[in-house]
């Protein structure tokens, strides 16, 4: 389209007809979808014996091209598709994060698939489709589109959770996740409907401007609470966390690594947009309670677990709580702290689950604490990497987990949330106990049971190296990532004050 045409076209039409740049702004989604479809189409064609490796490679290539596409997309920031999508450094960050998580998960799945005898085609395709939903969540600024993206990501993860078909616990996990999850998304949708009723728009920027301009109705509070229920479920925050341990216990271990990081990161991205851009009224106390509850219930629950997968499930609830603390802080500091936290958490948690999934072996037989006895001697490298991840989950200096907690708590203190910070630091000290239990049994107990340790395959090794390097990098040189998140935080909050004003449609017209 030339400049002259651009000028002469009627403004209403300009908004509805997608332009070339609009497609660039969803390029990663397109690339990932294309690779997902390719994997599905190739699945019946290729020989079943070689398909696992071959399809895995295609999926990995899809993720890598997705990252490249993200970079290309980041060169042309802006709105797309009638203001439904916004590409800014905020969404680029989450695109990159989620796709990188997917790449690492594909690497860890590589060997797991063979051991578990899982057909690869659907598995990899579902991961890629799920990622499409998640990255779309991070760039969508239209609540209905967010809902659709949420559904895309959720449906993929529901199925992935049940992939250990021969195991009843996996089916239970999938069903439980599905039933409760659809219930929670319904809450979210209901919240969207109510907010539309209150403001006449489902566009986040419009909503925030309406709220800034006029008095806040009661309906908004209800709508906010309902949307929070839906997203709170996705991030496993208390009191919507009950599903987490059962689902994580039954699902395949690499998928748990995926489920506990990527959809959560996406849901947190949405939550950040809703909480800080809409600048939701009444958010403070809502989040305060949810954060305090999540930290406490998660940590207390983890204290008594004997199954490592369940333990990490409770730990992920606690971490959702620490992350929520950032949401109670001021928009700029809170956003950047939360973004940093999601990245650090993704690196350490995915690494921890990668070790757990490798060690669990065929049929996921070895997942209790007793199985980990003497691992420090029988498999020093695996034990050492797991230790790094656990130390990072505790929040020991020199690891990403430390700075993540540090930024969150200092943001909270800047906002004068002294009590919430105190609850947080006490919780993180309590949390040290159960992570250390794993370290203790690995290094300080002799193994009483014969647990086979298979050598680390290349894919898993690579995934572990990536996770370890990221965890340590974030712990030693957090500067660059932090600067980026701060810049994104400013970009996220800025349009509210100085964005293009669009005539607001009043509810009566609909």
């Amino acid at each position: 389209m030339t400049a002259v045409e651009f000028m002469s076209a009627p403004p209403a039409l300009l908004q509805t007809i997608p332009q070339g740049v609009d497609y660039i702004r969803i390029l990663p989604e397109l690339v990932l979808s294309a690779f997902g479809i390719a994997v599905m189409l190739l699945d019946p064609v290729v020989d079943e014996k070689t398909s696992q490796r071959f399809l895995g490679l295609i999926a990995l290539a899809g993720a890598l091209f997705g990252i490249a596409a993200t970079w290309y997309m980041s060169q042309s920031p802006g709105l797309a598709f009638s203001n439904m999508i916004r590409v800014d450094s905020f969404s680029v960050f989450f695109h990159f994060l989620v796709i990188a998580i997917a790449a690492v998960v594909i690497l860890t799945s590589y060997e797991y698939m063979a051991v578990q005898r899982i057909r690869a085609g659907e598995y990899y395709a579902l991961i890629l489709f799920g990622v499409v939903g998640m990255v779309l969540m991070s760039s969508a600024v239209e609540l209905v589109l967010i809902f659709i993206a949420l559904e895309i990501s959720s449906i993929s993860t529901y199925i992935l959770a049940g992939f250990r078909r021969h195991d009843a616990s996996s089916a239970e996990s999938s069903l439980k996740y599905f039933l409760l999850g659809s219930f929670a998304t319904a809450f979210f949708l209901y919240g969207v409907a109510l907010i539309f009723g209150a403001t006449g728009s489902t566009n986040i920027d419009d909503i925030s401007r309406t709220l800034l301009a006029g008095p806040v109705e009661l309906l908004i509070y209800v709508a906010m609470a309902l949307m929070f229920v839906g997203l709170g479920f996705k991030v496993a925050a208390a009191p919507f966390h009950i599903w987490t341990p059962d689902v994580y216990e039954g699902a395949p271990a690499p998928i748990v690594g995926f489920m506990s990081t990527a959809p959560k990161a996406a849901a947190f991205a949405v939550l950040l947009r809703i909480v800080f851009v809409i600048n939701a009224p009444g958010r403070q106390w809502l989040i305060w309670v949810a954060a305090a509850l999540s930290m406490t219930l998660g940590n207390v629950g983890a204290l008594v677990q004997n199954n490592v997968k369940r333990l990490l499930a409770y730990s992920s609830i606690a971490h959702a709580g620490y992350l929520l603390v950032a949401f109670a802080a001021t928009p700029d500091l809170g956003t950047s702290a939360a973004m940093f936290y999601t990245a650090a958490y993704a690196a350490m948690n995915i690494g921890a689950f990668a070790v757990v999934s490798h060690f669990a072996n065929a049929g996921e037989r070895y997942v209790t604490l007793e199985d980990y006895e003497g691992l420090g001697r029988s498999s020093p490298l695996l034990a050492a990497t797991l230790t790094i991840f656990l130390l990072s989950l505790i929040g020991i200096p020199m690891t990403g987990g430390f700075f993540a907690k540090f930024y969150v708590f200092s943001a909270a203190l800047k906002a004068n949330l002294v009590w919430l910070t105190l609850i947080g630091v006490i919780n993180s000290a309590v949390g040290a106990y159960y992570y250390l239990r794993i370290v203790v049994v690995m290094y300080m107990r002799e193994s009483r049971r014969e647990v086979p340790v298979t050598p680390i395959p290349f894919g898993l090794g690579l995934a572990l190296v990536i996770s370890v390097v990221t965890t340590l990098y974030l712990g030693l040189f957090p500067n660059r990532i932090l600067e980026y998140t701060q810049q994104s935080a400013r970009a996220l909050v800025a349009p509210v004050q100085s964005g293009p004003t669009r005539a607001l449609r009043t509810p009566e017209k609909f």
């Binding site: 130390l391 020991i396 200096p397 020199m398 540090f406 930024y407 708590f409 200092s410 203190l413 800047k414 002294v418 910070t421 105190l422 630091v425 006490i426 993180s428 000290a429 309590v430 040290a432 106990y433 250390l436 239990r437 203790v440 290094y443 300080m444 107990r445 957090p478 500067n479 932090l482 600067e483 701060q486």
Partner: protein, 505 residues
């Protein structure tokens, strides 16, 4: 120019030399002998390197020297700010002095996972030095936490029967206490926008923080709790005996010799430095706790049947002197507190080595298992006696100077504290000499003890430097106090102002 370069990089060099050699050790093949030699040589080199600091130290200057201040992370505003004054320089040298001795004493006693042991030991040394050199609160917390893991691993992997319990207890106690310090540090950062100790101290002193007076007491307590657990001040001491009894000898030496001083150093540097007014206000109950610690620790030590537990409780008692001296806010008291820290590090470190030597031969610490050891092990008995006398405070040995100064300071502050604390000196003579008598004098009660070999070459090399240091410190304390005194005087200046303010009202 070259000396300038050296004086700005020497601290970094000394701090990270052990870490670097630990990482090099990682690459070495698993030949235990080579690993031991490498660890010894590298830790000796670090010691020699660290001697540069006191030798070229400007003793009359009260401020920080060998300073390095570089931006590490721009936001939050974290600096790599290191520097030492007359207080920290000696604690640093104490650390580098004890580490090679730890390597020597572990030469024979550690024979499994040797490589891991020395790597952990060297990493621990870096973390300990870092605690004493950091002037950025964030950096300080970083090193403070970093000491936890290697120490917990030393106890948990290389310790005795109930090692796991002791390691976890040690870790949890210090971890939980130090998160309160973290909260306080974060609060200070939120108010000042800086983690720099010097900047924060000046801002507080100038009254530039409007919210400070309301929060000051909580901040003081946040820091104090973290330090009090580490010292350990009564009633936070219960982790210490467990940790000591279960720890391997080298772990005990560093634990008693250096780790506990992190607590008293923290009180001296941060509680007194940042919150002079609150320190004054809280002094009465803290001094009372210190007194209880002195007497309670001594009484419990008196009835211990286990030699290592006895020494552990004696640490509780001795560290009580340090806290008492600090909160007397007198020149003598603070000088004494510093000197007791150093003296305790040397002589209690040596006592733990000597206990370890016995354990090596009989695999027990029970005092009743021994008796009459003076005849099969005469050299060992003589070395032990020397250290015991140093520890009970015999004049001309190191223990005397510090305790004398602390008692002087306590008398100046409030005579009753001095009187009560002085009984601690008597008790310490009681439990140590009584233990010595039961172990070494009389007839050999257990026949196995007849054939115990005397102290070996490596063991001599580990213990005798401590004895020599104890003697030199006792004869020429001015070598140490010369640098300590100006620093202490500087630390006390805000108190003179606080005192005059109180009088002025």
């Amino acid at each position: 120019m070259s000396t300038d370069n050296l004086s700005s990089s020497i601290l970094t060099l000394v701090t990270f030399a052990p870490l670097a050699s630990g990482l090099l050790l990682l690459l070495l093949p698993r030949r235990d002998r080579d690993i031991r030699i490498f660890a010894l040589v590298s830790s000796l080199l670090t010691f020699v390197l660290s001697l540069h600091l006191p030798v070229y130290f400007h003793r009359s200057l009260p401020g920080f020297q060998y300073e390095v201040d570089k931006q590490w992370i721009t936001s939050p505003n974290i600096h790599y700010h290191m520097g030492i004054d007359g207080i920290s320089v000696w604690l640093l040298v104490l650390t580098t002095f004890l580490t090679p001795l730890c390597v020597l004493i572990s030469w024979k006693s550690v024979h499994e996972r040797v490589k891991e042991f020395f790597i952990i030991l060297l990493i621990l040394e870096t973390a300990l030095i870092g605690v004493f050199t950091s002037l950025d609160l964030f950096l300080f917390y970083f090193f403070w936490e970093a000491t936890l893991i290697p120490m917990a691993l030393l106890i948990g992997i290389f310790g005795h029967e109930r090692k796991v319990y002791a390691a976890v207890k040690f870790f949890m106690y210090t971890m939980i206490a130090s998160v309160f310090m973290l909260a306080a540090i974060l609060w200070l950062y939120a108010q000042t926008g800086s983690f720099d100790f010097v900047i924060i101290r000046d801002q507080i002193a100038r009254g530039a923080l409007p919210n400070f007076p309301a929060a000051a007491q909580w901040l003081f307590l946040g820091f104090f709790l973290a330090f009090a657990v580490k010292v350990p001040l009564f009633p936070f001491h219960t982790w210490l005996p467990d940790a000591h009894v279960e720890a391997p000898t080298a772990g005990s030496v560093l634990l008693a010799g250096v780790l506990l001083k992190m607590g008293t150093y923290g009180i001296l540097r941060f509680n007194l430095g940042l919150f002079p007014e609150q320190s004054r206000r809280n002094a009465p109950w803290i001094m009372t706790l210190a007194l209880i610690g002195i007497i309670y620790g001594a009484l419990v030590a008196l009835v211990q049947p286990n030699m290592k537990k006895l020494i552990a409780y004696s640490s509780v008692s001795h560290l009580g002197f340090v806290v008492l001296g600090i909160f007397s806010f007198t020149q003598a008291g603070l000088n004494g507190a510093m000197f007791v820290m150093l003296a305790h590090g040397v002589s209690t470190g040596a006592l733990f080595m000597l206990a370890g030597i016995l354990h090596e031969r009989r695999h027990t610490y029970e005092i009743s298992e021994f008796g009459g050891l003076a005849s099969p092990m005469p050299v060992y008995a003589a070395s032990y006696l020397f250290i015991v006398l140093a520890s009970v405070g015999l004049p001309l040995l190191n223990g005397f100077i510090g305790e004398f100064l602390v008692l002087t300071g306590a008398f100046q502050a409030k005579p009753i504290y001095g009187i009560l604390a002085a009984t601690g000196v008597i008790w310490s003579a009681g439990y140590l000499l009584w233990m010595y008598q039961r172990v070494f004098f009389g007839k050999v009660t257990h026949p196995v003890n007849n054939s115990l070999p005397d102290i070996s070459g490596f063991e001599k090399a580990a213990v005798w430097p401590c004895a020599l240091a104890a003697l030199v410190m006792g004869v020429a304390p001015i070598l140490w106090l010369g640098a300590i005194d100006p620093a202490v005087q500087a630390a006390l200046t805000p108190f003179a102002q606080v005192a005059s303010k109180v009088v002025g009202q």
